[in-house]
C-alpha cells in the first residue's frame, strides 16, 4: 500500500510527540532555517514543514501538533492521526521526554499499534541525567524493535544520529521487526481474533492494518468505526464481531473496555521501562517543585502574576521605546527616523506630481510607516511572552486563575486564548487567540472565549494607545498602559459573565492540564519564536494594512474640491506682506480640511457626527474608526493621513502625537473616550473571518461585531459625558 515510487518522490517524515517534549525545538534543530508554515487542510491547526539534508538525501519533515494520545480527543489528535494514516509518511519520529518516559511512551505504543516506520528520539536526555535516571537506550531499541536515539533539543546533541536513523528507516533499511504491542489477558486473545476476522475483509485491508483496526474498534473509537463502515465489504459482520468481543471482555473482567485498553497500553510501556530504566530512590523534579511552591502559593502566586504583567510593560516600554541605548536613540525612534527620512526623500515630488506625492507620503508612508515603527516594541513584547511560554509559566497562570475565571463562565484554558490575544498586555493577536480556543472541548466555553478574547489589548491596538498616551499622558505611560490592561480585563470578564448568563448558557467543561517541568529557555528559541510572530505582524503591515491604507487614502483624496476660491484668497493676499505667511497658511490649511471633508470618507465620517458627537468624536475620528473595522492599526494610520492631509506643511509638523496634543478639538478626556472605544469595538476583519470559521457561522461573527460596537459606544459616551459634567475637559 505504501508508495513503491519512492525513487521519484521526496521522502517524508512526520514528527510526533507530547506537548512539552521539546518536539518543536528538535524540529528546528533538524531542519535549520528551511521552513514553511501553513495550515492543515480543512482545519486551522498550524502545519510546519522543513527540509532535512543528510547523507546526500533530502527528507521533508512535517511537525505534527503535540498530542498525548491518538484517540481523536481533540482537533490536534485527529490531525496527527490523519496525517499518519492518509499521507503515509516514510518515517515517523516520536519525540519522547526522557525525564517523563512512562506517559510519553503511551503515544509511542499507539504509533507502534499503527505499524508505521518509527524512530524514537529520547529527548531531554540532559534533564533525565540531572534527575539521575539511567536509561539503556540500546536495550529499549531491542525491546521495541525500533531505533532509539538519545537527543538534547536545546543544544542539538544527537542530531546527526537522529538524522541518519530517519534516513535509513525512511529508505526501508535496517528496520527490525517492530515489537507487537500486548495488552494482557483477556484483551490480547480478543484483539487477535478480531484482527484475524478483519484480515478477511479486503475492503478494510486495502486501507488499514487489521490489528490496529481491531484494537481501535474494541476501544470504541468512533472515527475508526465510521471509517470501517465506509470501506468494509462486510461492515455488519465486523461490527458484530467487535461488539461480541467487547461484550465478552467486559463480562469477563467486570470493567469497561476503554479503561482496559488504556491500562493495557500503560502496562506495556511500564513493562518496557522496568527492563531498561533505573530510577533513583530520591524524589525527582525538585527544582520545579521548589519554584511551584512559590509561584502557585495562595498569596504569592497572584502577586507574582501581577508582577510579571507589570514587568512586561516595563521591559517593553523602557527597553524598546524610552531608553536611548541604541546609538543615542531608542529602537522605536530609529524606525520613526527611517520613515521620516523616506518621506523627506520624496518631498521633491510634491511640486511635480502632487497626487503621486500624496499617495506615497500620506497613503503608503503615513499608513504603513506608522505601523512599522512599532516593530521593535512588538518584538520585545513577543520575546517576553515567548519566555513565559518556553519556561512553562503559562500553564501556572491557567492553574492559578482557573477558579477565578470560572466565576465569569470561562476556564483556565480560556486564559491561554486571552493571553495569546494580548491578555498579558499587548504581545498578542486575536487571530491566533481565537484559534487557541481549539484546545477547549466544550463549544460554549469556546464560544464565550471567542466573543471576549478580541477585547484584549492586541499588538494592533498598542500603537493607537501609545500614540494617544504619549500625546496626553506623557510621563505616566507605564501607569496608563497598566490601567488600560486592567480595564480590558474587567470589561471582558463582565461581558463573559453576561454572555454565560443570558446568551450562551449551560454547564461548564472539564479542566485537565499538564503542569510541565520548568525549563530555562534558550536565546535562540525565544528569538526564533518572537521573530516568527513579529514577521507575521510585518507581513500584515505590508499587505492588509497597506491595502486598507491605500483605500482609505483614496476615500480621503477623492473627489477633489474646486481650488479656485482658495487660490483667489492667496492671490489677494500676495500684495500685502505683513500677515502674508500666517494668513496663507491658514487658508491653505482650511483648503486641506475642506478637501478631506469633501472626500468620500469625509462625507461618511461627517454623516455619523450627529451620533458620534455624544462621545466627542468629530468626522476625522469617525473616518479613522471606520478604518479600524478592517484592522486596528489602521486607526493610527488614518488619523495620520487625516491630520497630515489637513496640514499645509506636512514636512515640518511634529509626530501625530504632537499634532493631536496641539489640536484644540483634542483633550485628555477625548483621548480616554477614544482609548476605550478602540479597546472594545469590533474585532478586526481577520479575527472576524477566523471567528466565522471557528464558530461555524456568520451569526457569531456579526454578533461579536454588533455587541462590542454598541458597548464601546455606550462606554465612550458615558466617560465623555460624565467627564464633561465634572469639568475634566481641559
Amino acid at each position: 500500500m505504501r508508495g513503491t515510487g519512492t525513487s521519484t518522490r521526496l521522502l517524508r517524515a512526520g514528527i510526533a510527540g507530547n506537548p512539552n517534549s521539546g518536539k518543536t525545538s528538535l524540529f528546528n534543530k533538524l531542519t535549520g532555517s528551511n521552513h514553511c508554515v501553513g495550515n492543515y487542510p480543512g482545519v486551522t491547526v498550524e502545519r510546519n514543514e522543513g527540509l532535512l539534508h543528510a547523507d546526500g538525501q533530502t527528507l521533508v519533515m512535517v511537525d505534527l501538533p503535540g498530542t498525548y494520545s491518538l484517540t481523536a480527543y481533540s482537533a490536534e489528535e485527529v490531525v496527527a492521526r490523519n496525517f499518519i494514516i492518509d499521507e503515509h509518511p516514510d518515517v515517523v519520529v516520536d519525540v519522547v521526554d526522557a525525564s517523563n518516559l512512562e506517559r510519553n511512551l503511551y503515544l509511542a505504543v499507539q504509533l507502534m499499534e499503527m505499524e508505521v516506520p518509527l524512530v524514537i528520539a529520547l529527548n531531554m536526555m540532559d534533564v533525565a541525567q540531572r534527575h539521575q535516571l539511567s536509561i539503556d537506550s540500546g536495550r529499549m531499541a531491542e525491546l521495541l524493535g525500533v531505533p532509539v536515539v538519545e537527543t538534547v533539543g536545546r543544544d542539538g546533541r544527537g542530531k546527526a544520529k537522529l538524522a541518519a536513523a530517519c534516513m535509513s528507516v525512511a529508505a526501508g533499511e535496517g528496520v527490525g521487526r517492530v515489537c507487537k504491542v500486548t495488552y494482557g489477558h483477556p484483551l490480547d486473545e480478543h484483539v487477535d481474533a478480531l484482527a484475524a476476522r478483519i484480515a478477511q475483509d479486503d475492503g478494510v485491508c486495502r486501507m488499514y492494518r487489521p490489528p490496529w483496526v481491531a484494537i481501535k474498534l474494541i476501544e470504541k473509537d468512533p472515527q475508526v468505526g465510521a471509517a470501517v463502515a465506509r470501506v468494509a465489504d462486510d461492515t455488519d459482520g465486523i461490527r458484530q464481531a467487535a461488539e461480541e468481543a467487547i461484550h465478552q471482555i467486559e463480562t469477563h473482567s467486570g470493567d469497561d473496555v476503554e479503561s482496559l485498553v488504556a491500562e493495557g497500553r500503560y502496562g506495556f510501556a511500564a513493562g518496557i521501562l522496568r527492563q531498561c530504566v533505573r530510577t533513583p530512590p530520591t524524589e525527582r523534579r525538585r527544582m520545579t517543585d521548589r519554584v511551584d511552591a512559590v509561584v502557585c502559593n495562595r498569596l504569592l502566586g497572584p502577586a507574582i502574576l501581577m508582577g510579571v504583567v507589570y514587568g512586561l510593560f516595563f521591559a517593553v516600554f523602557k527597553v524598546a521605546d524610552e531608553w536611548a541605548w541604541l546609538f543615542g536613540k531608542s529602537p522605536t525612534a530609529w524606525m520613526e527616523w527611517l520613515f521620516a527620512g523616506l518621506a523627506s526623500a520624496i518631498g521633491g515630488l510634491e511640486a511635480t506630481s502632487p497626487m503621486l506625492h500624496s499617495l506615497l507620503a500620506d497613503g503608503v508612508i503615513g499608513g504603513v510607516g506608522g505601523v512599522m515603527s512599532f516593530v521593535p516594541l512588538i518584538f520585545v513584547m513577543f520575546a517576553f511572552v515567548a519566555v513565559l511560554e518556553d519556561t512553562g509559566y503559562i500553564a501556572r497562570v491557567a492553574f492559578v486563575l482557573d477558579r477565578a475565571l470560572r466565576i465569569f463562565g470561562l476556564q483556565g484554558r480560556s486564559m491561554l486564548a486571552m493571553i495569546v490575544s494580548g491578555g498579558l498586555g499587548g504581545g498578542g493577536c486575536a487571530v491566533p487567540g481565537v484559534l487557541a480556543t481549539r484546545t477547549m472541548r466544550d463549544p460554549r466555553d469556546r464560544l464565550i472565549t471567542m466573543m471576549v478574547a478580541p477585547m484584549m489589548n492586541c499588538g494592533a491596538k498598542i500603537p493607537v494607545y501609545l500614540m494617544l498616551v504619549a500625546a496626553f499622558f506623557a510621563g505616566a505611560q507605564a501607569k496608563m498602559m497598566f490601567l488600560l490592561w486592567a480595564l480590558s480585563w474587567t470589561i471582558a470578564l463582565m461581558c463573559a459573565w453576561l454572555l454565560r448568563r443570558f446568551v450562551i448558557r449551560g454547564e461548564q467543561t472539564p479542566f485537565v492540564m499538564e503542569l510541565p517541568s520548568y525549563h530555562v529557555p534558550t536565546l535562540r528559541g525565544v528569538v526564533r519564536h518572537a521573530w516568527g510572530r513579529t514577521w507575521m505582524y510585518i507581513r500584515k503591515a505590508g499587505t492588509v494594512i497597506l491595502a486598507v491604507s491605500l483605500v482609505m487614502w483614496a476615500l480621503m483624496f477623492f473627489p477633489r474640491t474646486d481650488a479656485s476660491a482658495f487660490d483667489a484668497g492667496v492671490a489677494a493676499l500676495d500684495a500685502s506682506t505683513a500677515t502674508y505667511q500666517r494668513d496663507k497658511a491658514a487658508i491653505r490649511s482650511e483648503q486641506g480640511r475642506a478637501r478631506l471633508r469633501q472626500s468620500a470618507a469625509g462625507r461618511m465620517g461627517a454623516s455619523l457626527v450627529p451620533i458620534s458627537q455624544w462621545a466627542g468624536f468629530d468626522w476625522r475620528d469617525n473616518v479613522a474608526l471606520i478604518g479600524g473595522f478592517a484592522a486596528k492599526e489602521v486607526v493610527i494610520g488614518t488619523l495620520g493621513v487625516a491630520y497630515s492631509m489637513g496640514d499645509v506643511h506636512p514636512e515640518n509638523s511634529g509626530s501625530l502625537s504632537a499634532q493631536l496634543a496641539d489640536d484644540e478639538h483634542w483633550s485628555r478626556l477625548q483621548a480616554v473616550a477614544m482609548l476605550i472605544f478602540v479597546m472594545i469595538y469590533a474585532p478586526c476583519m481577520s479575527t472576524l473571518a477566523v471567528i466565522r470559521r471557528e464558530a461555524g457561522s456568520w451569526k457569531w461573527a456579526l454578533f461579536s461585531t454588533t455587541y462590542t460596537t454598541i458597548l464601546a459606544f455606550v462606554l465612550a459616551v458615558g466617560v465623555f459625558q460624565v467627564g464633561r459634567l465634572l469639568g475634566l475637559e481641559g
Binding site: Y68, S69, E102, Y106, E258, S259, P510, V512, L515
Partner: protein, 85 residues
C-alpha cells in the same frame, strides 16, 4: 450504576494536600474519561496531591512522575483508596 459499597468511597477531591492514594476507578464519562485515561489516570496508579490553587481549586496531583492540574469536580469522579491506611 455502581453498587454503593459498605463504606462511602473516597474520591481524589477528598484527599488533603500531601496525601497519597491509589486509584480504584475512574467514574467520569465520554471525552473527559478518555482524556484522564490518556493522561495516565488509570486503575492501580498511585497519586500524590501536591497542592491546591490559590482559591482551593483546581488541585495539582503527581501521577506517573509528572504533574497534572485537575478541577475538584473532575477529581470527584476519580475514586481512590488512601495509601498507608
Amino acid at each position: 450504576m455502581t453498587e454503593p459499597s459498605p463504606e462511602t468511597p473516597l474520591c481524589l477531591a477528598d484527599l488533603a494536600v500531601g496525601q497519597r492514594a491509589r486509584i480504584r476507578r475512574v467514574e467520569a464519562n465520554g471525552a473527559i474519561r478518555q482524556r484522564l485515561l490518556d493522561m495516565g489516570v488509570t486503575r492501580g496508579v498511585t497519586v500524590l496531591v501536591k497542592r491546591a490553587a490559590p482559591l482551593g481549586d483546581p488541585i495539582e496531583v503527581s501521577v506517573k512522575g509528572y504533574d497534572l492540574a485537575i478541577r475538584k469536580c473532575e477529581a470527584r469522579a476519580i475514586l481512590v483508596e488512601p495509601e498507608g491506611s
